[in-house]
């Protein structure tokens, strides 16, 4: 998606939420969420044999103007630095936002504007 807006990344949190720059009304588009996160499973050990404590993202929601796009209920096997891509229809301009929480209680969020021509 060459023609895309990269949302500003809040300091200390690193993520990308990418949508096309300008959409026509009724157009189908992909929203891509990419989160920098180790997604530590709790099954790995470090060089000294100590178990690395589990810390995966346990909840993630994607909202458009506070309406639910998706909610991740179980994300056990997402890879490190996970990406989630979904399809939406451009009906009106608004704010797309993602919010997540990991097992250690860290929260993150990112938002981006969806601009629909004439709407």
């Amino acid at each position: 998606m060459a023609d895309a807006v990269i949302a500003a990344i809040p300091p200390g949190r690193h993520a990308r939420l990418i949508v096309p720059r300008l959409l026509q009304r009724g157009e189908d588009f992909t929203a891509r969420l990419l989160i920098q996160h180790p997604m530590e499973t709790g099954f790995r050990r470090d060089d000294t044999g100590k178990v690395l404590p589990a810390n995966v993202i346990e909840n993630v929601v994607l909202l458009f103007n506070d309406e639910l796009v998706f909610r991740g209920r179980v994300l056990n096997a997402l890879s490190a630095n996970p990406s989630l891509s979904v399809q939406l229809t451009a009906q009106k301009s608004g704010t797309l936002s993602a919010h997540w929480r990991d097992q250690m209680g860290n929260v993150g969020s990112i938002s981006t504007e969806v601009r629909v021509a004439g709407a």
């Binding site: 189908d28 997604m39 499973t41 099954f43 458009f64 309406e67 639910l68 796009v69 998706f70 909610r71 991740g72 209920r73 179980v74 994300l75 056990n76 096997a77 997402l78 890879s79 490190a80 996970p82 990406s83 989630l84 891509s85 979904v86 399809q87 939406l88 229809t89």
Partner: protein, 155 residues
């Protein structure tokens, strides 16, 4: 079909449900906080698993199990009018935690389609699950072979 016969068919379907089914539904009800989701879980407990219109796009040979691309897609042309996909999930039976992914879809999604990367701990048959608003469950499985890397990396 008489009512009791219909019930027997449903019970038969539940009995034939794969072992992970309880885990999938169980995990979901343990984690869900809304009454609506619990009600949905009650409905899917007696669900019939059919292949339906779910497609699963995943490489059949994978070199590194830490990140395997997967696309779950529920074909809308296979849906009856007024029915939508409410949840998409992935079951990886040989992973230490077999319920790999469970996503609840809002009405804003134009297609029931999720693309992501998952971890696979071993060669296994990966199953995709789609829950429909009428209680139907679509499932699709693909066998994935994990070959391992050529050079072991200890850095």
């Amino acid at each position: 079909m008489p009512k009791h016969a219909q019930r027997r068919t449903l019970l038969g379907a539940v009995a034939a449900a794969p072992w992970w089914w309880a885990a999938f539904v169980g995990t979901a009800s343990a984690q869900s906080s809304t009454a609506g989701s619990d009600a949905l879980d009650e409905r899917v407990r007696a669900a019939v698993l059919v292949r339906g219109g779910l497609s699963l796009d995943i490489p059949v040979i994978v070199e590194t199990g830490t990140s395997v691309p997967i696309v779950l897609f529920a074909d809308p042309s296979q849906l009856r009018p007024g029915v939508r996909v409410t949840r998409l999930g992935i079951i990886a039976p040989k992973n230490p935690r077999p319920v790999a992914l469970d996503m609840e879809l809002g009405a804003l999604m134009s297609q029931a389609r999720i693309a992501t990367n998952i971890r696979l701990g071993a060669s296994q048959s990966v199953t995709g699950v789609a829950l429909l608003s009428d209680g139907t469950v679509w499932q699709q499985s693909i066998a994935v072979v994990l070959t391992g890397s050529a050079c072991y990396d200890g850095t």
